[in-house]
């Protein structure tokens, strides 16, 4: 059987491998972590339907196991080209093609130091909130239920100051989802989402936004928070402009949540250099085109699936992974 390397064992990698196997190709997954699943393992409920992340992960993981797909865990890929993969250990594996499914990196909120993440108590990222929901444990002010929560959109997205000009796409709907979850958990809390634009691109997203406003009474304020400061009692004061009234706005909050964006992996540059691949301005890998060849790289035999090329939702990633596998099969046949 023809052997194809799948770099990354997140949902993109697993779905690619499963589809390759359906097409009679032998995939081999290289995963850096000790476990398959990638970032999705950290998420609690998925937008817009509040589906448990396990509902996506388990079937994929089980099928990978059932199909006896070769998985190399805790294995870092140092370099690759269209016919081989070299591991950090120095081992070289010869393959017929490579699918890059290495995903993205979560923006480090400490870089935006005006928001005081890692400095002030009660400043969290959206990733922390997911973990709190997973663990069922909420760190909050003086052990009491929060009365006011602010959620800030576009932290590390659409921001030239931190070299992240792109939109991370999924944070808006994540912000709406988390606002609803927090409201369900803390019904007395007033929740404010601060946004620059609300981008509800997927099916059911706009409806979720509407539900958040109407049924959960979430306040949406158009304006980017300029800074957070500590208050005497440990809460946080935030400042923004309420741009729809043209006035500055200030409030203290018990929880300040930063919706952190999707950043390109720093390894992308290395891979691009060693395998002659093109990078987009955002640092994500640049597909051959954005239409009929959106899962192909500029190099024959190297393919992409998932967020390695741009921020995407889970559904989009899974579709793309199947497409990438199909294009690999086509490539191997026509070669």
């Amino acid at each position: 059987m023809l052997k194809v390397a799948v770099i990354g064992g997140g949902i993109a990698g697993m779905q690619t491998a499963l589809r390759l196997r359906e097409l009679g190709i032998e995939p081999i997954i290289f995963e850096r972590d000790k476990e398959l699943g990638g970032k999705v393992r950290n998420w609690h409920l998925l937008f817009p339907t509040f589906t448990e992340s396990e509902a996506v992960l388990l079937p994929l993981k089980n099928r990978v196991a059932r199909e006896k797909i070769e998985v190399r865990l805790a294995t870092e890929v140092r370099e690759f080209d269209s016919t081989s993969v070299t591991l950090a250990s120095g081992e070289k594996i010869v393959v017929e093609a490579v699918v890059v499914c290495t995903g993205f990196t979560i923006f480090d909120a400490r870089v935006k130091d005006e928001y005081g993440y890692g400095i002030y108590d009660n400043v969290y990222t959206s990733v922390d909130i997911e973990r709190m929901f997973v663990d069922g444990k909420f760190a909050h002010w003086r052990g009491e239920e929060p009365e006011r929560i602010a959620i800030l959109h576009c932290v590390g997205s659409r921001d030239e100051k931190v070299c992240q000009r792109h939109c991370s796409k999924v944070c808006c709907v994540t912000g709406v989802k988390q606002a609803i979850e927090l409201k369900r958990r803390f019904p007395k809390a007033d929740i404010f989402n601060f946004y620059m634009d609300i981008r509800m691109f997927g099916p059911g997203y706009e409806e979720l936004y509407h539900t958040a406003q109407r049924e959960y009474g979430i306040h949406f304020v158009r304006g980017r928070i300029s800074e957070a400061s500590p208050l005497m009692d440990g809460r946080v004061q935030i400042k923004a402009e309420d741009t729809l009234t043209g006035r500055p706005l200030r409030m203290s909050v018990d929880m300040f949540i930063l919706l952190v964006g999707m950043r390109s992996n720093s390894e992308n540059e290395h891979f691009a250099r060693t395998a002659d691949l093109r990078l987009a301005d955002s640092g994500f890998m640049q597909p051959k085109d954005l239409f009929v060849n959106n899962v192909c790289s500029n190099e024959e035999g190297i393919f992409y699936a998932g967020t390695v090329t741009a921020p995407k939702s889970i559904g989009e990633v899974l579709n793309e992974a199947s497409m990438a596998a199909d294009r690999v099969a086509e490539y191997l046949k026509e070669r």
Binding site: D113, E114, G118, I119, Y120, D121, E227, S229, P230, L231, M232, G234, Q237
Partner: protein, 362 residues
């Protein structure tokens, strides 16, 4: 509440010795002992070489920020200061003013980004003064220099920033001039959001830094704003906003690294108290405002009247008493020659209750 480590994260290069000193235009009026104390501390306490050049001029920053001095002119004036530094045999430029520091930093960046502006300036400098343009190897604000030697000063410390009665560290509000690091965050110790330059001194000398909601807010100085009387309402409101925000933390004093900020935060307390009867410090008084040189001077055992602290609008005696500074109250208004220099009228900010009808806030 705050992990202090964060405040020291960005470091900047500061020279170890041999400084060319550039004075501020206004400090000698409002805080007349500060620059003298800085020179004395560097030369006599730390044994450093610093040159106080009598022929350097104003950087014309106030004129520049008030739309009176054009960019080409200020660049040429700045070029002359650098040329004087070179002629005096120095490479490290240390400026006492934040406005000047911002201007020097900005001009050096402009010359680097747009070399034609540097060429043009060199040409003007040559035509106007016959001098050669040089650029400093190291540019620092004098608070950077003081920060750089904070541990050496701590070793020679006579009176730490501690309340002698309670043994508790003094609670200090630090206020950084906007043009120190808000234009170029990398030009300041600690960056723009968590500048460490003053916080580092306070911590090294035994005090406790107070972080409060409006810490990063501008004092409202703004040049053309306060220069025009009709605009002063929103200028003073900025200082008031800060004072209101810091008051609940009961700070023992405020320390600034900018001539304008220290003047504003001090004098506006006087103005607010006279206009509205409100004070922000303890026991109905104002909050004393110090320059970092005055703070270092007290720590090193200088006499407060030698440091020029009698010129403050808000009396510093409550602070001196807390620190256990010995001073002669009767010498407060005696000038350098021992001659009586006159005494200000009683003010609300110094709790001249008998002189006013106001209800003072405790």
């Amino acid at each position: 509440m705050v992990e202090r480590a964060k405040w020291a994260e960005y470091e900047k290069a500061i020279a170890d010795d041999h400084f060319y000193y550039a004075r501020s235009c206004i400090r000698q009026n409002f805080f007349p002992g500060s620059e003298k104390a800085f020179l004395d501390i560097l030369k006599n306490k730390l044994g450093k070489d610093i040159y106080d050049d009598p022929i350097h001029t104003s950087c014309t920053g106030i004129g520049y920020h008030s739309d009176i001095v054009p960019l080409e002119t200020i660049m040429t004036v700045v070029a002359r200061q650098f040329a004087l530094m070179g002629e005096a045999g120095y490479e490290n430029f240390a400026t006492s003013c934040i406005t000047s520091f911002g201007i020097y930093t900005e001009i050096l960046h402009t010359w680097e980004e747009f070399p034609e502006t540097k060429e043009r300036t060199a040409d003007y400098l040559m035509k106007a003064t016959g001098r050669e343009l040089v650029v400093p190897k190291n540019l620092a604000h004098t608070s950077d220099v003081m920060y750089h030697f904070r541990k050496d000063i701590a070793e020679k410390m006579v009176r730490p920033l501690v309340n002698v009665k309670t043994g508790e560290p003094l609670r200090v509000v630090e206020h950084i001039g906007c043009h120190y690091a808000k234009i170029f965050p990398k030009s300041g110790v600690g960056g723009s959001e968590f500048p460490y330059v003053l916080a580092g001194m306070i911590e090294s000398w035994g005090g406790e830094v107070v972080d409060y909601p409006e810490r990063r807010h501008c004092c409202g100085f703004g040049f053309r704003n306060y220069l025009v009387q009709a605009n002063r309402g929103y200028s003073i409101a900025n200082s008031q906003k800060k004072l209101e925000s810091m008051a609940p933390y009961r700070p023992d004093f405020i320390v600034c690294n900018c001539p304008g900020c220290s003047m504003f935060l001090d004098k506006w307390q006087y103005a607010i108290a006279e206009m509205e009867g409100i004070t922000y410090g303890q026991r109905g008084c104002g909050i004393p405002v110090l320059t970092y040189e005055e703070m270092a001077g007290l720590v090193l055992g200088y006499d407060p009247w030698e440091l020029g602290m009698q010129m403050h609008a808000v009396d510093v005696e409550p602070l001196l008493n807390k620190m256990g500074v010995e001073y002669d109250p009767s010498a407060k208004y005696l000038g350098k020659s021992g001659k009586y220099i006159g005494k200000p009228a009683p003010t609300v900010v110094n709790r001249a209750v008998e002189a006013s009808v106001y209800k003072l806030r405790g």
